[in-house]
């Protein structure tokens, strides 16, 4: 009985550890899948794309619907520059007046915390060595936050 309790306890601790170590897939993974599915190539700002979480649904059957999803969910305009290559342009990137930024500090040590993931809507950013983070501005109002 005691052994079973120990085993159960270890299982619970392992689950909690795994949950804490959740890796977040970013939009570049979705683009790589879309590239393979639709037989097209993308050119993009790597920082911008990696600052967004991947699409939370299956890829649509055609590329036009996928392009619409990029527009509505991520505010990205898709422009063709050749028959197979498309450029991804974030259309609200220059809205500097609506920038959201902040810093993460440890309450125990009162020191900045670097490399911490901060999530807002479908954006995910890492804090720098000063604990600072900054999101790309968006037109749409974003309601959810997590750290």
């Amino acid at each position: 009985m005691t052994k079973s309790l120990y085993a159960f306890g270890i299982l619970v601790l392992f689950s909690l550890y795994s949950w804490g170590q959740t890796t977040f897939k970013t939009l570049n993974i979705t683009l790589e899948k879309a590239s393979g599915k639709y037989g097209i190539e993308f050119t993009f700002d790597d920082h911008f794309i990696r600052s967004h979480l991947s699409l939370n649904s299956e890829l649509p059957p055609d590329k036009e619907t996928f392009f619409k999803l990029l527009d509505t969910q991520f505010e990205i305009i898709v422009s063709p520059i050749s028959s197979k290559t498309y450029v991804l342009k974030p259309y609200t990137k220059n809205l500097s007046n609506s920038r959201i930024c902040g810093s993460v500090y440890s309450q125990l040590e009162h020191l900045p915390v670097s490399d911490t993931k901060v999530i807002m809507g479908n954006q995910i950013v890492l804090t720098n060595e000063s604990g600072y983070f900054e999101f790309y501005p968006k037109k749409k109002q974003i309601k959810s936050w997590s750290l």
Binding site: E32, K33, E41, T43, F44, D46, I81, K84, T85
Partner: protein
């Protein structure tokens, strides 16, 4: 009897009349008599010191000298051949790609695609004991199977057996290696397998879900390369000047279409919300 024997007997004067009649119709009798009269008065003086032993020893010494001379000549020839070979095989072959993309085949059938402004140097002994090259710039390597293949750059070393990979090593840009096929050892400690990328500035190996062919009909594929570096490549390839007027450190991923200037300029500006202005026929400005 052979004719020369008749002549010898005739010269001694022991030839019978019958034998003489056989000889004379074939030979000029006047000429024969002239030879006979001349040789009869000729005398040969033999030196008194000459005897067989003396002659034998002299002949032996001459042969020994000849043998020594032959050995020396042979040694000189071998040394000359070794020296000449050493100079030849240690000499270097240098290949530089100026403005275009250049595809070269190394002596072991490995292929290297040199991007504009890149340089590759290898010794003529390449492939005999090892396969090593000196490299700077950007190159796509398709290495034939064989002895370890080493790419030495000023920023780091890449070792492989048989694979496809790309090295970017410029003085002003971070050193990076992308592996498309096989296995690559970077800086003697990081091992990259297919679809993995190493970046010197972060000193880490990263998985890439679907590494694209580095060079296709659409253009050159770059994975997480600073935009400034992509702009430099475009400048060399298109033989234009692009003045950079932005402070942010942008990172480019995707296809750089090098076959059409308009598309190339769009691909370096649109994703970053940058503006391109044409200053003159060969000069552009890119700013935010």
């Amino acid at each position: 009897m052979k004719e020369e024997n008749y002549l010898a007997k005739w010269a001694e004067g022991t030839l019978s009349d019958k034998e003489l009649s056989k000889l004379e119709p074939k030979q000029d009798p006047v000429l024969l008599k002239k030879i006979l009269s001349t040789t009869a008065s000729a005398t040969i003086e033999i030196p008194k010191t000459l005897n067989y032993e003396n002659l034998k020893s002299r002949t032996y010494n001459d042969t020994s000298k000849n043998k020594k001379g032959f050995v020396l000549q042979l040694a000189a020839a071998v040394v000359t051949i070794i020296l000449a070979s050493s100079i030849y095989f240690n000499s270097e072959v240098s290949i530089t790609s100026q403005s275009g993309i250049e595809k070269i085949t190394l002596p072991d059938d490995s292929e290297v695609t040199l991007m504009p402004g890149s340089e590759l140097i290898y010794k003529r002994s390449y492939g005999w004991l090892s396969r090593g090259i000196e490299f700077s710039g950007e190159g796509i390597f398709e290495v034939a199977k064989g002895k370890p293949f080493t790419v030495n750059t000023s920023n780091g070393t890449v070792k492989v057996l048989g694979t496809v990979f790309r090295v970017i090593s410029n003085s002003s840009m971070p050193f990076s290696v992308s592996c498309l096929e096989g296995k690559v050892k970077v800086q003697d400690q990081y091992i990259l397998t297919a679809n993995q990328h190493y970046n010197e500035s972060r000193k880490e190996v990263e998985d890439v879900t679907d590494m694209k062919a580095f060079l296709s009909d659409e253009g050159i594929y770059y994975y997480q390369v600073p935009l400034s570096q992509v702009i430099q490549i475009l400048e060399r390839y298109m033989e234009i000047e692009i003045k950079e007027d932005f402070n942010q450190e942008f990172v480019f991923t995707g296809i750089l279409p090098i076959y059409e200037l308009e598309s190339a300029l769009q691909s370096i500006s649109l994703p970053f919300n940058l503006t391109i202005t044409k200053l003159d026929e060969l000069t552009y400005r890119i700013n935010d």
